[in-house]
Symmetry: C2
Subunit: 409 residues, 2 copies
Amino acid sequence: MTLYVHKYGGTSVGNVERIRHVADNVIKARRRDESVVVVVSAMSGETNRLVALAKEAQPTPDPREMDVLLSTGEQVTIALLSMVLQERGCPACSYTGGQVSIVTDAAHTKARILDIDTQRIRADLEAGKVVVVAGFQGISEAGDITTLGRGGSDTTAVALAAALKADECLIYTDVDGVYTTDPRVEPKARRLDRITFEEMLEMSSLGSKVLQIRAVEFAGKYNVPLRVLSSFQEGAGTLISYEDENMEKPLISGIAFNRDEAKLTVLGVPDLPGVASRILGPVAEANVEVDMIVQNVAEDGTTNFTFTVNRGEYQKSLSILRSTCAALGAREVLGDDAIVKVSIVGVGMRSHAGIAAKMFETLAREGINILMISTSEIKISVVLKEKYLELAVRSLHEAFHLDRPNVSN
Amino acid sequence: MTLYVHKYGGTSVGNVERIRHVADNVIKARRRDESVVVVVSAMSGETNRLVALAKEAQPTPDPREMDVLLSTGEQVTIALLSMVLQERGCPACSYTGGQVSIVTDAAHTKARILDIDTQRIRADLEAGKVVVVAGFQGISEAGDITTLGRGGSDTTAVALAAALKADECLIYTDVDGVYTTDPRVEPKARRLDRITFEEMLEMSSLGSKVLQIRAVEFAGKYNVPLRVLSSFQEGAGTLISYEDENMEKPLISGIAFNRDEAKLTVLGVPDLPGVASRILGPVAEANVEVDMIVQNVAEDGTTNFTFTVNRGEYQKSLSILRSTCAALGAREVLGDDAIVKVSIVGVGMRSHAGIAAKMFETLAREGINILMISTSEIKISVVLKEKYLELAVRSLHEAFHLDRPNVSN
């Protein structure tokens, strides 16, 4: 018998009517003789309501108590879904994270799963029940309630699929799969039938927010085939798995982009060892996450140092940098918060030269100036002026023939 | 060091502002060098919201899943109260029923407490923390979440007080104590400083809904002094304990009444053994709770049989009775749903004759006809026409001098 773990997010369980729709979907799967474990999030809006209550109680809420509070959100959903399933004649049983021993470390509000005891779940599955598990939550070894952080329900689903050796982990969401790029920017964007874990990681970390990075990492680590699909419409979605040797591999799978970027440059830094850490150290200490980093040697024995941060942290970073700059004897600090990052992603580029050249050529043909470049094994990212975002995405989408399936670009 | 268990109901924790008020009260107790365990209910309105969701999911919700759902209400409150306490610099830690092993039987939605493991609570108290425990909930031996039924938070508080051998269990509510009768009916009603467990049981079962009967029974059984007091105003409230031999005992402590009664009579029942059970059996099978029962022998070898039920079950009981009546060969079924029950309660009446006579005399003087009489060791109940309720309560209150403290009636 095949075993599937389904995961439904907050929008898919936003009210009882939608929960009924989820139940329909689960019952359909059972008619296909599939065993089903369902992981659900809190009803949409519920987590925000609880966070607001917490902040009213304590401006910086105690993390342990925050977890006690937030974990109630999913607990409500598991009970309601089990009731709806039973109402439709489908035997079902709900469990909190603690009840199925999703043991985590004690890092409240961002705990990591250490172990899952699947005994109760297996017994229920064998008894013909649908097992409904609260996502996002676990229990520490000391018996305290923990949560995995926002989006943690994806991680719960993948961890359960791994522990149960499920055939697939189905992530039901409000989009019908992973696209070659954001359809709001390029209407010709195409749903991908398959994508590899590595590509998905690059796509999601670059701004295509379909799946939580940690869940994808987890799925990759335990080789759990992951499928992203819509809970509102029929369709096979996108399967995320390891590279299939028999598969016709396109060079490029998709184009990711991030609008929320800002760029900071220190000009005329004396080119001495330790300069990078002296520049970035104070930024990191202020809890600002740095994304791309580029350093170029200038001609007068000094160097120019550029990095990008989230746009929300631009002003903070700029003022930190200005004081560092004075201490370092650097010439000037420049900043630009009207930039974006555009990346092409594909495992195919590992074995093919010329991808970068084609990307730069395409942008040049459109008169788009590249401000920064950064590359990894399976992606090439460029920083551009904000106004070029749509043009860049569309021309790259066309240049790499992403609108046509099964074309080797 | 003295140890108190505080219990705050739904109105007292209805929003974060009120929870702050609860925290103030707890902190005041700590300044008096008292150790405090706090038991809280769900925020007012929350249980009703969850019940409505459940009924939308499943018209008759599965009891196990209902408990998973409802237990989230108190879990929200314990987290918020702990946060507010911490915000005020008072170390606090929250626990669900499961986390402090409030082990119950498996009777979902009306479970009974079997055992409490106080180890974690004691350790926290010794570390100087306020321990905040979710009321109303427990965990079955199989590890399923259970609830104790509505009002179960009182029971949790008393059970914890018993297990911890607390000095007193303080039930904070929206009234400032137990009154000689309902002040809305008799403005001269007076707050009692003390009342015995037995009297409190008679008072609450007769309609003075201050405390849950089960909690009072529990407190009596384990001899936990119980104090009912207001969470909104200062005051010593009413202490419920065993009879104090040195105490000046009034004969009557209070007057309870119940407006929601209806009365049913079967006339001319053949007076044979087993008649009572043949009349009441079908009523009980329909889950109707019968209150007072009176049977009188008539002159013609038949008997008249009268009992009272909750007014909401009057029509149902009447139609059951009509079919029973035919089968029994009884003459007629009569009913009246415009009646009330008024009772005088007091341990003093055990040792004093003439109380009943005084009661009947008082009512007669006012021209009030008594429809039914029923007595127990410490109470006398009469059924009256509804229109006489206020007059009866006020004249009895005056006749037994209940407006004056420490008078032997």
